[in-house]
């Protein structure tokens, strides 16, 4: 090995603490990149593989009762490659030990023995034997929530008839990666389960022999989905079709997409920012490190080494440090991308995981990481190499301190000499000070951008469960009822108050834009479920028009005062213009609200209710559950407290993973920046500080001069960082908007304080490490080296 290369290896070893600190900062950036892209890719890849292998449909439609003879006609629609007709109904489940009734969605298994589309993946046991009316398979999530195994049994009320069924197997279905009950916004596997039973059993129970009420379609690649949906809609219309929908509107897939999209947004926003920030920091720190090598560079020049030889030597040093960082980042990134994919995979109940890594991300992160290190080194070396060796080998001329405006201000306050030194140093190198401060602010910003989501979710919960939905529970009717039914509901045990709610599927048109949603009929006197704007925190009555969720209004490009067309899908050729009277931010779903009486009049029917929002007396809760179980007209009950707690749990599981990871990485970066700044500052000023010690300054006073400067920079960095963090949070919120939900931009004081504390804590920890070095400074040897 050449002597110069030996020097390189030993230099890295000598500077190991700092090399490692720089490498770790870089590693964090690379880690975030590799980890998040890897996880996102793996999950998307897993979903695609899962969908393909299980023949996940492209189009769904429900109908009231369609004859099976319609199936060949559906199959003949151009572009349709596969059709499966089936029966799907809701059922109340009676499970021992469960204090509140659970709901189930029950789906038919064709006579052939297994569904051809949305194929079931058998996790345990077997599928029901055709014709067995007491055999059932259940979704794994539901089974896990109750500890069910093959052979266990529970009660099912099918169309008012209660029967005991035995579980023959436990399955996964691509249609229910997310299992969300009616009226719920998050999975609650304990109270909502998916069941499959033989078709003839369901046909008999629901009077659907020779008929179906649900159909799924696959289309060949390149088929226009809209055309197929239109044709299907026409075919099913006479049979009570509720409007076909595609994957985008399929609940489970939409939620999964939303989740993956959110992950993708984070992947596209945060890791690149992390990587750029770390690249910037490494660039800065390495540059300063190399400037300290000024004398050695001068010596090498004196010995006859050319500019290129010397530059290459230091570039190798930079690359060595960069390579260590990239390698650590790759390794930990690869490992944690799998770990995160696994956590998400379990959350989604994927039957398997397809790990996909993005070679381009590895390459890109290495290029950016090494590039930043090398550019930092090159710029620093260039400056020194340009000097003549004689100049390089002599210490730099004393810095020119001038009596500028700042200095006059400083002097005016007559601080002690040490404070004067601190302030003058900052004033003398304003760019360097500003960059150090900026680096620290960026890490503070990253912490805010990670933590704010918890605040936003709190706000979202408050709006969703305190402002908008104030009911204790929702009772769902098997079929729409006249509002008179509310009197009966109020007579149920434990119900203190009941309000009706009505929803009907509709398609909204505004110019070329269109969207299929459910319109809800509300009364202004309703207090249990309100049309409430989360941004302005006020109620928005629909009046004689329609109120749209803000994101729905955006989709339609409709503003208040515009007139949109509403097509009611369950009413033949009923299409009416309606004026938009308001928009609301509810954060969940794409709701549209009209006055109940006006909506009923438009539909030409007496006011109806599809569900009842109720207030419950907690003391009589059990009696109510019992009554609901025994009332066939009520298809199910959803407790808001449970929706909320399941939401909390879900957030704890999914969003927190990312929040924790990002905050952790940001904290690491903060430590890296502050420690590196302090260390380099120490090296740069070692002589000066040692001289002061010799003059009789105490260790504390000397530390004050060095660390005081750092603390001032940190103090300046924190407010700036918090402000930048708010900006980053805003950008993330803006990119999170999906059909299912949006996130309010809320950053609480606690989050700001937390971020500030992390930065301050990292600074203090780094300061202590550096302080130890000041204490150990060998005065004699420092002074002995040449002046």
């Amino acid at each position: 090995m050449r002597a110069l290369d030996k020097k390189l290896v030993r230099d890295i070893r000598r500077l190991w603490a700092q090399s490692l600190a720089i490498a770790l900062v870089l590693a964090c950036g690379v880690l975030a990149m590799v980890m998040m892209y890897g996880a996102e890719r793996s999950l998307t890849g897993t979903r695609d593989t899962y969908y393909e292998r299980t023949r996940f449909p492209d189009i769904w439609s429900n109908a009231a009762r369609a004859p099976k003879s319609l199936v060949p006609e559906i199959a003949a629609i151009e572009g349709v490659s596969q059709v499966e007709a089936r029966i799907t109904e809701n059922a109340v489940l009676d499970i021992e030990g469960l204090d509140s009734p659970a709901m189930g969605q029950i789906i038919s298994i064709p006579a052939s023995g297994a569904p051809e589309m949305s194929r079931l993946i058998l996790r345990a046991g077997r599928l029901p034997e055709p014709g067995h009316d007491r055999e059932v398979v259940i979704a794994e999530a539901f089974a896990n929530a109750h500890g069910f195994r093959a052979g266990d049994s529970f009660g099912v009320t099918l169309n008012g008839q209660k029967r005991e069924v035995t579980i023959t197997g436990i399955v996964l279905s691509p249609e229910f990666i997310y299992t969300i009950g009616p009226g719920s916004i998050f999975p609650d596997d304990k109270r909502f389960g998916i069941l499959w039973m033989p078709e003839e059993v369901l046909a008999a129970a629901f009077n659907l022999s020779g008929a179906f009420n649900s159909v799924t379609l696959s289309v060949t690649r390149g088929t226009d989905l809209e055309e197929v949906k239109d044709t299907l809609e026409t075919l099913l219309k006479p049979y009570g079709g509720s409007g076909p929908y595609d994957r985008e509107a399929q609940t489970s897939n939409a939620f999964l997409d939303g989740e993956l999209e959110q992950l993708a947004v984070m992947v596209q926003v945060l890791p690149p920012i992390f990587l750029v920030i770390t690249a910037f920091l490494v660039n800065m720190v390495l540059g300063r490190l190399i400037k300290l090598e000024r004398e050695q560079i001068g010596l090498l020049k004196a010995l006859g080494y050319g500019r290129w030889d010397i530059s290459w030597h230091y570039l190798k040093l930079a690359m060595g440090i960069g390579a260590i960082g990239v390698a650590i980042g790759w390794g930990t990134g690869y490992w944690s991308s799998m770990a995160i994919a696994r956590v998400y995979g379990e959350f989604f109940h994927f039957p398997y995981l397809v790990f996909v890594q993005y070679p381009a991300v590895y390459a890109l992160s290495a290029v950016i990481g090494l590039g930043a290190a090398m550019v930092g080194a090159a710029l620093a070396v260039r400056k020194v190499v340009m000097l003549s060796p004689a100049v390089a080998m002599s210490p730099p001329a004393p810095t020119r301190f001038r009596r500028g405006l700042l200095d006059r201000i400083i002097v005016f306050f007559r601080p002690g000499q040490p404070t004067m030194m601190i302030l003058r140093a900052i004033g003398r190198w304003p760019v360097r000070s500003a960059l150090t401060s900026l680096g620290i602010s960026m890490s503070a910003a990253m912490i805010v951008a990670g933590l704010f989501m918890l605040d936003s979710f709190d706000e979202l919960l408050d709006v969703a469960f305190v402002q908008v939905n104030r009911q204790d529970a929702m009772l769902e009717f098997a079929i729409p009822r006249s509002e008179a039914v509310l009197d009966d509901v109020e007579n149920l045990p434990g119900v203190m108050r009941a309000e009706g709610a009505f929803a009907t599927p509709a398609r909204l048109y505004h110019g070329p834009r269109t969207r299929t949603i459910a319109i809800e009929g509300r009364r202004e006197s309703n207090t249990l479920a309100r049309v409430f704007d989360g941004d302005s925190r006020t109620e928005v009555p629909p009046g004689d028009g329609i109120v749209l969720e803000r994101r729905l209004a955006d989709h339609l490009d409709a503003r208040v005062g515009d007139v949109i067309e509403v097509e009611f899908l369950q009413h033949d050729d009923l299409r009416r213009p309606v004026v938009v009277t308001g928009t609301v931010s509810t954060f969940f779903g794409l709701g549209a609200y009209m006055d109940q009486d006006r909506l009923s009049a438009m539909l030409g029917q007496v006011p109806q209710a599809t569900l009842a929002n109720v207030m419950i007396d907690p003391a009589e809760q059990d009696a109510l559950y019992e009554a609901v179980k025994n009332t066939p007209a009520i298809a199910g009950i959803t407790l808001m407290s449970q929706v909320r707690s399941s939401f909390d749990e879900t957030m704890a599981e999914s969003a927190n993973i990312s929040v924790v990871i990002f905050s952790f990485v940001a904290s690491l970066i903060t430590i890296g920046v502050v420690y590196n700044s302090a260390r380099i500052q120490l090296s740069e000023r070692a002589r000066e500080l040692a001289s002061l010690r010799i003059l009789g300054f105490t260790k504390g006073e000397v530390s004050y001069i060095l660390l005081g400067e750092l603390f001032i920079l940190v103090a300046a960095a924190i407010p700036l960082g918090l402000w930048m963090g708010y900006g980053m949070a805003g950008a993330m919120v803006a990119s999170f908007d999906t059909d299912l939900y949006s996130i309010p931009l809320i950053v609480t004081r606690e989050t700001y304080i937390r971020a500030a504390l992390v930065v301050a804590g990292a600074s203090i920890a780094s300061a202590l490490l550096v302080r130890r070095r000041i204490d150990r400074m060998d005065l004699v040897s420092v002074m002995k080296t040449r002046e």
Binding site: A3, K7, R14, K301, A390
Partner: protein
Amino acid sequence: MAECIFHTEDITKVYRTGEVEVHALRGVNIELFANEFTVLLGASGSGKSTLLNILGGLDSATSGRAWFKKLELTAMRDRELTRYRRDHVGFVFQFYNLVPSLTARENVSLVTEVAKNPMPPEEALERVGLDHRMDHFPAEMSGGEQQRVAIARAIAKRPEVLLCDEPTGALDSKTGVQVLEALEKINDDLGTTTVVITHNAGIQKMAHRVLFFADGTIADVVVNDTRIEPRDIEW
């Protein structure tokens, strides 16, 4: 008359540090000859280091010209100066300037690896009496030993000239003598033209030629008819 190795014409050098201008050299004309041991003597700030740096291609002159044999140093660009230093000049500095992360042998290798016709690092170290310390790091050696490593490093490429800036400045008399002996031995054995800066007036007696500096000019040039041994120098 021996071959003229260095000669200069009205060399001046002005340093600007901040708002202060320092006239380090004010028109210096000298001639130095092959195989000679020359001592540059003068108070600190008299310009001797500046001249040595210019002769060694470490620094540029503000005006005037300087030649190494037929090569005009003052007309060279950075690349040519690097070449010149690599091929012809050995340096010894007051504070040794060893690379702390390399052993004695490796510090010498640093030069032999880029030189045209070097001697083995071991031979160079042997010539300065350090054959037993080859694998020690600078921090494990005394000042005198470190300076001798620096000399070995300087001569290993068989330079035509050896330029030494206060080689004994940081040493006590005993180790200082050892260093001077090493320099004299190199000068005798290899015939290397040697230029030594010092402000220790005693050292002038071992030189062939002494240049006295004062205020950026040459005040006097003395040629010694008889030289004394380093160990006889009064420190």
